[in-house]
Amino acid sequence: MDILSLFVVIPVLTITAILLLKDTRQVRLVSAFGMGLQLLMAASLVFLYLTARHAGNNDEMLFIKDYLWFKSLNIHYAVGVDGISVAMIMLTSLVVFAGIFASWEVEFLRKEFFISLILLASGVFGFFISIDLFTMFLFYELAVIPMYLLIGIWGTGPKEYSAMKLTLMLMGGSALLLVGLLGIYFNSSPDGNRLTFNILEISKVVIPLPDQRIFFPLTFVGFGVLGALFPFHTWSPDGHASAPTAVSMLHAGVLMKLGGYGAFRVAIFLMPEAAHELSWIFIILTSISIVYGAFGAIAQKDLKYINAYSSISHCGLVLFAVLMMNQTAMNGAIIQMISHGLMTALFFALIGMIYGRTHTRMIYEMGGLMKIVPFLSVCYVIAGLASLGLPGLSGFVAEMTIFVGAFQHPELFYRIVTILAVSSIVITAVYILRVIAILLLGPTTNEHFEHLPDAKWFEKISVVTLIGSVAAIGLAPFWLSTMIGTSLHPIIEKIIALNPF
């Protein structure tokens, strides 16, 4: 058993253990144990990865394992990681770990809830470790399906509607994606050898440009739907608003990153010429996402909606940076994925905890929470400051890397668009501070809230894990940046070899 497959096997074992349990109170303990183990595994993977790199192993992917799965179509179960996927795996295990603690008090169908949650997580882990397009797509679908159940059964508000909308839109995205992937597959071997799904092998061949022009937009939009690309983002506000806390965390924190990661790893890496040629269209769309999401967030009254729109803005920045196609911007895109994943998970965790106490998410119905629940409020302020890009927290590192990288683009059009994207930092400040001022500061408006309890121990674990990671990246970004940067080298070299700027 190789270390990477363990990332899928452990969740499956945890699910089996939960199925065998009789007492539902032990379910969460088993889940916490399983996912804690996963977190340890992720940490050791980071360690192993860095050791291997330090020892001079310069392969593009490490820990590669390849098993033939379906011979006639040459489908393999192939896994391998580089610095980027290692970082994403670390992010996922952190968010899942925090998510388990954030849903400590789920009462209704507890066993099924945790099973679905962990199934979702195993899909995400599988996605990040695969280097075979088919297995990647398989895990991607595996991650989407439990989402429907989690929102439809454990959600709030118009949950069936939201769950249906989310699933259908993501499925629509996967339909485009599947066409794109098959397009890549059938062009994967121009010399007449066996067709292949393996990313590393495909990256060595050049897909003919006319085919790229068709399949790049399909693949990019297919992943873009998941990454909340304008105008395919509307599943996100409804979905997030209806989803239970842990699902919002996982969804905004990790699942949306599948989109950015996929767009980067598949669409741009495998079809760089078309990406370069068509990037201006998607740059315009993503810039709209960035500014539009931020303005949309100003007008919202529901905490989760505010955050959903803010996620649209921040995830737009990820795709924006990926499309700039240079080392610095892409580095920023990956850091932004991680940073946004952590802080938005933190946001949703806190919103869930506040909602659990006040039973409302409307900001105007609350006020002066700082005095009542200081721990949660201070954490909320920290999350807000991270989101608006305060130095010392992760958001700043990510945004600045993106902006500086994007501004190095030799064409004037791209630099002007970058300035437009930069202006989002002000709008972000406006909506973040608006929420903080209305929700947390000022006099207490509702006397029913005056005796609400502050965070419990499991909530503290959840929140502190995330804040610790956000601050760690913010204070010491060099190791993450370097780890991603070295992994980006081969990719950038390929892009530059094909598109001499």
């Binding site: 909308k165 259908l168 839109m169 304008f230 105008p231 395919f232 983002h233 509307t234 599943w235 506000p237 409804d238 539009y292 303005f295 949309g296 100003i298 007008a299 919202q300 080392q327 610095t328 002066g368 700082m370 005095k371 400051l385 608006l388 890009g389 305060l390 130095p391 010392g392 700043f396 590192v397 600045m400 890397t401 902006f403 500086v404 990288g405 501004f407 190095q408 630099r415 970058t418 300035i419 930069v422 202006s423 930092i425 002000v426 400040a429 406006v430 501070l433 608006r434 001022a437 947390l440 500061l441 000022g442 006099p443 207490t444 970004p477 060099f478 940046s481 370097t482 940067g485």
Partner: protein, 639 residues
């Protein structure tokens, strides 16, 4: 080469203090944390003074010029091969001078707060925020590259936000903190864009490379033109926009008066002495680029500074909240500094304005901190911010009275107090370069003396007011800082700035020009005299004047309605005409399109579901008909 490695502690200590007090202070020792914070800062102050001594008096000079020394530097974040954010400490005359200013004022404010904030809820929170501020401000002035400066620039912004909103249950404080953050954030956007343009053209963030007057960075970019101005000019104007925001220059000044909602020691430290001069410091730091490569941008600096100083002085004459008067006076004095930079040139006698600006920054920090701390003592005694509710306080608050008077004389530019020397240099610099700006500043000098003494006379003289409780002098923790700063006001004028802090690090020969000094003292005295006549003699002149210039007075009293204009832009335009439509558009157009697609699918399926009736007989009918038709087809038509 002297070893300056220990300067890393000047950063680290306040940061550790912040973390320690912020995380542990609340639970374990709320009382002790104030003393702990003050002690921490005292250590930093001592380190700073040692650094200053070593730098100015023992470090080697090359060609008679002070050298820029990098005390330590490490890469924090690598962007590209050439662009990387470093965190380090750059020692040169202005940064060392700023070290002295910041640590001195900060230490005084710490000691003062021990008394002022005693018994307040969140005492330890206050001190942890102060530590955070000290950390950020020291990081800002010691920055080795422009991006490090931006990082700490944002951090001082957030510490200012946290401290203005210290009384977080007070809606006005919350509003003020939000406003301060957003306005400065908007200005910082300009700063960031400026950095991006600058780095794109010069491929470096490093100050030493950027500001080397013979280096490549200065020459680069000045050739490329964009919309009539060189790229370098554009980037410098954008960078200056950040300075305008932080230093509360027109038109981004609106946050500063509101920021007075914070505790008074905070106003003294952040909004008078240190943070608001960051904009001046920024221009001074980038000065060679401004002077050699972007003279248009430097003109912008001069005119913005001059206009702001006049504008603020006029408003200050009409305000009644003492902290607001001081806030506008701060804005006016910073305008002086900006103007001085704007009229200066690089090197030689041209650099007089630069030296004057730094000199004024130094003296201003002392007397303005003193004014604010004095105001704090007054407010502490009277429990009101309004001049109209004060009068005759000189009997009750003797120490505060004397120190406040010294500060007022200093700001009015009366010799031998320090303000006289620095203001005189500024006026001289303006006189030699631009007569219009000189005239404006000359008038502002008179206005300054007038409004400061208006404040002084109506608070300490005038008729006694029946106070609820008899006002009493503040405790020693509060009066000692006042006395120390008053001594600072007396002494700092005699520091030979022309030998220490100049644009090119060389000694600048300058002496007091009597042709400028005498009239400036005279107009100061004139202002004081008018104030005396109007506010001590109990005349009806102020009311008459206000009635005569009714509209002018009303406009000035309402700060020329700039706040309302901003409110209009933000509330009406951004909220109502951008955000709400965007939200509406998202729900009713984008989302509706998606729902529409779903709706069409559903509608079509409703239409055609009759085909799937579930009745076997219908299916059988269709099947048989089809079979017969096929049979006919095959038998008769398919020959």
């Amino acid at each position: 080469m002297i070893n300056f490695n220990y300067t890393i502690w000047i950063f680290l200590l306040p940061f550790l203090m912040f973390l320690f007090l912020g995380l542990a202070g609340h639970k374990y020792f709320p009382r002790l944390s104030g003393i702990l914070g003050t002690c921490g800062l005292a250590v930093i102050t001592v380190l700073s003074y040692i650094t200053a001594y070593k730098y100015f008096f023992t470090s080697e000079k090359v060609d008679g010029a002070y050298q820029k020394i990098i005390a330590f530097n490490f890469t924090w974040l690598q962007f590209t091969d050439k662009l990387h954010i470093d965190i380090g400490a750059l020692l040169d005359p202005i940064s060392v001078m700023m070290l002295i200013v910041i640590t001195t004022v900060s230490l005084m404010v710490h000691i003062y707060s021990l008394g002022y904030m005693k018994g307040e809820k969140g005492f330890e929170r206050f001190f942890s925020f102060l530590s955070l501020f000290s950390f950020s401000m020291l990081g800002l002035v010691l920055a080795t590259n422009i991006f490090q400066m931006y990082i700490f620039w944002e951090l001082v912004g957030v510490s200012s936000f946290l401290l203005i909103g210290f009384y977080y249950q007070k809606p006005s404080a919350v509003r003020a903190s939000k406003k301060a953050f957003i306005v400065t954030r908007f200005a910082d956007l300009g700063f960031l864009i400026g950095i991006l343009i600058l780095s794109f053209n010069t491929k470096t963030f490093d100050f030493i490379t950027l500001t080397n007057p013979t280096g490549p960075a200065i020459a680069q970019g000045s050739g490329i033109a964009f919309l009539g101005l060189s790229v370098m000019t554009w980037s410098m104007i954008f960078v200056f926009m950040g300075g305008v925001g932080k230093s509360a220059m027109f038109p981004f000044h609106i946050w500063l008066p509101d920021a007075m909602e914070g505790p008074t020691p905070v106003s003294a430290l952040i909004h008078a002495a240190t943070m608001v001069v960051a904009g001046v410091y920024l221009v001074a730091r980038m000065f060679p680029i401004y002077a050699l490569s972007a003279p248009v941008a430097l003109n912008v600096v001069a005119y913005v500074g001059a206009f702001s100083s006049l504008f603020a002085a006029v408003i200050a004459c009409t305000q009644t909240d003492i902290k607001r008067v001081l806030a506008y006076s701060t804005m006016s004095q910073i305008g002086y500094m900006m103007l001085a930079l704007g009229v200066a040139g690089y090197g030689g006698h041209e650099g007089l304005g630069y030296m004057a600006s730094m000199f004024h920054l130094f003296t201003h920090a002392m007397f303005k901190a003193l004014l604010f701390l004095g105001a704090g003592a007054i407010i502490h005694a009277v429990h009101s911010n309004y001049m109209t509710e004060m009068g005759g306080l000189r009997k009750y608050l003797p120490i505060t009275h004397i120190t406040f008077l010294i500060a007022c004389l200093t700001i009015a530019g009366i010799p031998p107090f320090s303000g006289f020397f620095s203001k005189d240099e500024i006026l001289a610099a303006a006189f030699h370069s631009n007569k219009i700006l000189f005239a404006v500043e000359y008038a502002v000098a008179g206005l300054t003396a007038f409004y400061m003494f208006r404040l002084y006379f109506s608070v300490f003289w005038g008729k006694d007011i029946n106070y609820h409780q008899t006002p009493h002098e503040a405790p020693a923790t509060m009066t000692i800082p006042l006395i120390v700063l008053a001594v600072g006001c007396l002494v700092s004028g005699f520091i030979p700035f022309n030998k220490l802090v100049t644009s090119d690090g060389k000694i600048l020969e300058s002496e007091i020009e009597l042709m400028i000094a005498i009239p400036s003292v005279l107009i100061g005295l004139l202002g004081i005299g008018i104030a005396y006549l109007m506010y001590v003699k109990e005349s009806a002149i102020p009311d008459k004047l206000a009635a005569t210039f009714k509209y002018g007075y009303k406009w000035a009293y309402n700060k020329f309605y700039i706040d309302e204009l901003y409110l209009f832009v933000t509330k009406k335009i951004i909220f109502r005409y951008i955000s709400d439509p965007v939200a509406w558009f998202d729900r009713h157009v984008v989302d509706a399109t998606m729902n529409g697609i779903a709706g069409i699918t559903q509608g079509v399926s409703f239409r055609i579901r009759g085909l799937q009736s579930g009745q076997l007989q219908k299916y059988a009918f269709v099947f048989i008909t089809g079979a017969i038709m096929l049979a006919i087809l095959f038998i008769y038509l398919w020959k």
